[in-house]
Symmetry: C2
Subunit: 788 residues, 2 copies
């Protein structure tokens, strides 16, 4: 490498480190034109310096490589609180000022840049949505590789530099994240270059991967399917040596990536690729204070956060801070106005090649709407409501197959080995395969080097990949067993927070919504047992901002089609859709389904006995496919055996409709709510999830005192479908009994019917216990036949 | 190995496989005394045969090793739905009948054994709580190694055979679970022998680890710090060959473990141990049907669940089932009564050496109560309420230090690198160290080969280790940042389900409660930003059974001490405790704190202005430390500026008290609730978490219509502590305004005060934006001084 490049690399590195220390410490005097005083130092010292020098070193070298190789590159900073380093680089290359004109590229802008960091009204300490060039905040650790691979899918021209912290490397999601390399197709996907940054320490402990011998570490990376390149630096290493060694490693890695891609793309090689990765061993808090208060700091856990915690309080820390800042020789890096000198930023790529300005990191700007088929073409014909069975997710699978055909590069399905189990397959395999780049066997079916279906038995990977895929401008769906989507509760939370923090940022264009399809749900996990029964993800989802979260409970194939068409067109939401996969009654024809979904709820006039001009005695409400089935059956029982009762059946498909207008944009007005649920009429609500969620959503509604909710109350085991609803008092008999108990005088007036319903319930249970399956009279019950 | 042993190994294996197939398929005719007919076959065929033969092979060989080496051993079956194999082994060795006398060890017992499996009223398909010898259900995949290591800690005489499925091996928690070997101390802990069972397929896909070359797989295991032993079998391999090869591998592994332990225990070696592990490659559905309906089954994903799905429906499947069952030659394995022949079970160890009967797997039977110091000795003296600051978790740390001193082998603290950050350290390091068995550095502090504190940056590991530790009869605490405990939502759910399913099993003795300590909570994560702010774990917790879950919000050091003393004495609960780590006001002296915690809630008479004989105009309620502080401050503002208002201040420390008696055993009666919160008086409730949770708990209470809750409403960023409460309208000024707005005529009567409070609020915010810290007048506010 020539001396000029060396000098420029070092200048960038010093400048980025200087700007990072400045962000952590300084309120004012950004260029140290005056001697540093306590008043120049922030009252609260926040942010983490420890990881920064590694992040900025990689950034500087990536810049060189981008220029030399004309790369399109994305930078993912895995280590937490590494924000200052990434922000510094964005300011150096000019993007920061383009995005935030207030933060000029001069002394005043530098002052503002410093002041805003981790300051009230300012910016977070992570590579947050506010950070140009970021798709990965890293506030919660463990997802950098997942995001990186998600970004690389279907972006053949993209190289993702993914810095993995050795803290986050201990997390489960990251530990399995390495296997992402077994899915990347070198011909049609981009490349991920993981850089495992071993600086040896977490907040208060050494890191595991820094405390095993080199050969063990190299073995681990080879076992993960990588060709590792190890570079090690120590405090005080000559800068020229550092830059030469790291540049050599980076070039070797990028050469290897180029060779792999060339072989696959030009020579048609189908050999399994062994991708390179870099292990960067460097001191924590590198280039920072060696010793503070007589204790070693650089290269220890004491450098994790703020190496000089008392810079505002003690002369000695203040003196050390000034010495530290001056060690980067800012006067050689910035001109008199505080603008970076040409040599300081000579390595920065141009325009969108800057990692801070790449459109890949502002995916909404390159997102195109999906070319969607008319979902009506996939409709299930419904003659009489409930007369015939359909499988909602299987029907949706046929729709997805056509979406895949029309959008061969911008739509993927992600799932933890459950795409078939959830019945989305086999239909989708008419249109595509499962992507797989590990070894093949002649027994494999629908497995190919490239395909639209991504299956790995890690909900974390599915979630992280899809997030990365969406954040870089594409579309997709994550299907999961309902109970096990709790595995990614925290990732859901983080993505919701990312979307919410992105909203006020006008420069961030909207991205496609994150679409969940939760099937194999609580009511039909009878055969898999108690461990597989948990509808609580809805409760987690509803805690996040009303601006972001949507929850839908379509109850048959046509309502699922209508719902999903809407979801695939939406942006910046998280759509949680729960749907059944088992054969079950189809209730609404396509036109009715569309109207119902558009309203978000509606009355099943055919199911109730309410007549014009007479208020109902009771409302039977339902949300979810099994509750709808039981509610309709309960209404039928009442129609047959208590024909004088006036009943109304209401179904809620958009759960947010239950909330008030002021709580959620989908909320019904009180007047509309009262129209469906008259305040003086009892409502028996059969709900898919935990019953308290409905109370939480409706507690301010007029009729709430007479709203009675049945739902999953954590009673389950390995049994039959109807026994599951009986265990939780959600069965048709119990719902009908609830009605009798709640209508004034009902329990007395209908004492005989009530006893009969109890007896039927007992008989159904006894049948199940004896035969191991549901009584066919119950299992095969149909609305039409029951009334005939 | 001699022929007799070989014969016995094979007999056990055949018997266990036969019994497994029987469980999956048969309602009757368990010994095939009659030709098999459709009526003998279950109507619903559930369970997974694919993994069973591997599980039973390992079990048989472990039995031999236990006898030969006099081992105390525990068996952890990682693969999901492997229940039939484990149950079969427990029945063979007699434990099953001892535990469930109905399931006799004869033909009738075998019939019942078969029938109950995955049958309504029967047992689940996993190694569930119902399964003798199990501490690991495996319904949700990924936690086998974590449970195994948790069991091994402090059990030096225990060997844990942990079978890891290649499906679960793809999960994040399992992928990082291998690193558990870097924590095991060979001198004072037991051993874990992982057996990675590669049968190659998941439900519908190949597994990753089965589709990389052997050298890559071996490299991965070496990288994880293991010495791997690879054994591979194919369909049709001679049984003698199989048993010889596997026995050799197992003996080599156990020899190596013995050598490592001997070196550490007898020779005082401190060399880092490289523990053995076994990779067992074998066909999925081994010994099952080779082909079904013309398609290969044994050795493919088609063998994952039920290889002959139509055994009740088609003659051909029925014929194949009978052939398959007879291939195990049951007539050679069981006598005429159906009792296993002596040779079949000759390998079974005796009494508690049987893995199905080991007390380690029924930890409650060997659990001893903790020797607890008097928590009162750690009390913080409180003169006037709120006059002085304390750090609740730091005080608790001193208590924990003494608990550790008194219980050197049965109590551990688990945390993701946050024990220091959460302030439990440094106090605990007076009593112990952090356990670590990777490489050491001279810079390390409090790191030792054995110690009571376990730190790894994986909440999954912390949770899984503690579960394993508790399930084998010990005690412990998991401390975490509040936001990131969502990472283990799903593990929490599974543990709660385990505890609930265990309750009705009289033979399972109660285990110590799982204790969470959630600190670095939402209100004091101002400096870490939005990603670190999430109090929603409480909502997840409250969905689980009221019998299992307890939630406490102690608001100062003394209430935290009293709460934790209670938690450490309790059994079979999950105690979720949220507590602050920052210096904050101490409100109650020890005696008052004890009385308050015993009641679960109480009135702060000193903080309100209510007088004898006059009902309050308003109740100010709080739960959590920051809400309590703001509520007391609001009450002080009102006392000073609206002295004619009669206020009552109520604090809730036991959240379940808010529920009705019929919803939770801790629930207050309606009369008692009305005593605290009079129905005709507005209550302004300042809550630690999402406000809707309080509504969910109280919606049936008389005064609910006039209950107004402030809490975290997903507004946050990097800012100051007081700005955080202002952002969410939980600050003292807003609470006082809420009071004025809710007492009849208040907004008019106190219009001037209302405006003044709004102005103060605006000034506080402006100060923060300008100075980057809270206005000292607010930050240093104290109850006593404010009233002076």
């Amino acid at each position: 490498m020539d001396d000029e490049t060396l000098r420029r690399l070092h200048a960038w590195w010093r400048a980025a480190n200087y700007l990072s220390v400045g962000q952590i410490y300084l309120l004012d005097n950004p260029l140290l034109r005056q001697p540093l005083t306590r008043e120049h130092v922030k009252p609260r010292l926040l942010g983490h310096f420890g990881t920064v020098p590694g992040l900025t070193l990689v950034y500087a070298h990536a810049n060189r490589a981008i220029r030399e190789r004309d790369l399109d590159a994305l930078y993912v900073a895995g280590p937490g609180h590494g924000g200052p380093g990434v922000v510094a680089c964005g300011w150096l290359d000019g993007t920061y000022t383009e995005v935030y004109p207030r933060i000029t590229r001069d002394e005043e802008g530098m002052r503002r840049l410093f002041r805003q960091f981790s300051f009230p009204g300012g910016i977070p300490s992570h590579a947050a949505p506010e950070t140009p060039g970021s798709i990965h905040e890293g506030g919660e650790l463990g997802y950098s590789l997942s995001h990186a691979y998600g970004a690389a899918f279907d972006n053949p021209d993209l190289t993702v530099f993914c810095v993995v912290g050795d803290g986050e490397a201990e997390t489960g999601p990251l530990a399995t994240g390495w296997h992402g390399n077994k899915f990347i197709d070198p011909a049609t996907d981009g490349a991920v270059l993981p850089i495992l940054h071993l600086n040896g320490w977490k907040i208060a402990n050494p890191t595991l991967l820094a405390r095993i011998p080199d050969d063990e570490l190299l073995s681990l990376m080879r076992g993960y399917g990588h060709e590792p390149i190890l570079v090690s630096f120590e405090a005080g290493d000559e800068p020229d040596h550092v830059h030469r060694v790291f540049a050599e490693a980076l070039d070797a890695a990028l050469d290897r990536i180029r060779d792999i891609q060339r072989a696959a793309r030009e020579d048609g090689s189908t050999e399994r690729a062994i991708w390179p990765m870099i292990i960067l061993r460097s001191p924590k808090g590198w280039t920072g204070p060696k010793q503070v208060d007589g204790l070693p700091v650089e290269g220890t856990w004491r450098a994790h956060q703020v190496p000089l915690p008392s810079a505002r309080d003690t002369d000695e820390h203040l003196r050390q801070l000034e010495e530290w800042l001056r060690s980067y020789r800012p006067e050689e890096l910035f001109d008199d106005d505080g603008t970076p000198l040409p040599d300081t930023v000579a390595l920065a790529p141009e325009g969108p090649r800057r990692m801070s300005a790449t459109p890949y990191a502002n995916g909404g700007t390159i997102r195109t709407d999906l070319d969607l088929p008319d979902f009506r073409d996939f409709a299930v014909p419904v003659g009489a409501p409930g007369a015939e069975d359909g499988q909602a997710t299987a029907v949706l699978g046929r729709f997805f197959a056509e979406v895949i055909r029309r959008n061969p590069h911008t739509f993927r399905l992600f799932g933890p080995d459950e795409t078939a189990s959830n019945r989305i397959a086999p239909a989708v395999y008419d249109a595509t395969d499962k992507q797989w780049n590990a070894e093949f066997s002649p027994l494999d079916e629908h497995l190919a080097r490239a395909g639209r279906v991504m299956e790995v038995l890690s909900e974390h990977q599915c979630q992280g990949w899809l997030e990365g895929y969406l954040l870089t401008g594409r579309h997709g769906v994550f299907n999961s067993y309902e109970a096990f989507v709790h595995i990614v509760d925290s990732m859901f939370n983080q993505h919701a927070k990312w979307l919410e923090a992105s909203r006020p940022l006008e420069w961030r264009a909207p991205i496609a919504s994150f679409n969940y399809l939760l099937s194999s749900h609580v009511w039909r996990q009878d055969h898999n047992g108690f461990t597989h029964q948990d509808p609580g993800f809805l409760d987690v989802a509803m805690n996040k901002s009303a601006e972001i979260v949507r929850v839908y409970l379509p109850f048959d194939a046509n309502t699922l089609l209508s719902t999903y068409d809407h979801c695939l067109r939406s942006v910046d939401y998280i759509n949680v859709v729960v749907a059944g996969k088992q054969p079950s009654p189809q209730w609404l024809g396509m036109d009715e389904a569309i109207a119902h979904c558009r309203r978000g709820l509606g009355t099943f006039a055919w199911a109730g006995t309410e007549t014009e001009g007479r208020a109902p005695d009771v409302v039977l409400a339902a949300a979810g496919d099994v509750p709808t089935h039981e509610t309709v059956a309960a209404a039928a029982l009442l129609a047959q055996y208590a024909p004088d009762l006036s009943t109304r059946v209401v179904n809620v498909v958009d759960l947010m409709r239950l909330q008030s207008e002021d709580q959620h944009p989908h909320g019904l007005s009180d007047a509309d709510f009262d129209g469906y649920f008259p305040p003086d009429v009892p409502t028996i609500f059969a709900f898919h999830g935990y019953p308290w969620l409905v109370h939480r959503l409706t507690y301010r509604r007029h009729g709430h005192d007479d709203l009675h909710v049945r739902g999953y109350k954590e009673r389950g085991t390995t049994t039959t479908p109807f026994d599951m609803v009986m265990l939780n008092d959600l069965d048709r008999f119990q719902l009908a009994i609830d009605v009798l108990d709640r209508v004034p005088g009902g329990a007395t007036r209908y004492a005989g019917l009530r006893q009969d319903l109890l007896d039927r319930r007992a008989r159904a249970r006894a049948y199940t216990r004896e035969h191991g399956e549901d009584d066919p009279a119950v299992a095969e019950w149909r609305w039409g036949a029951a009334l005939a």
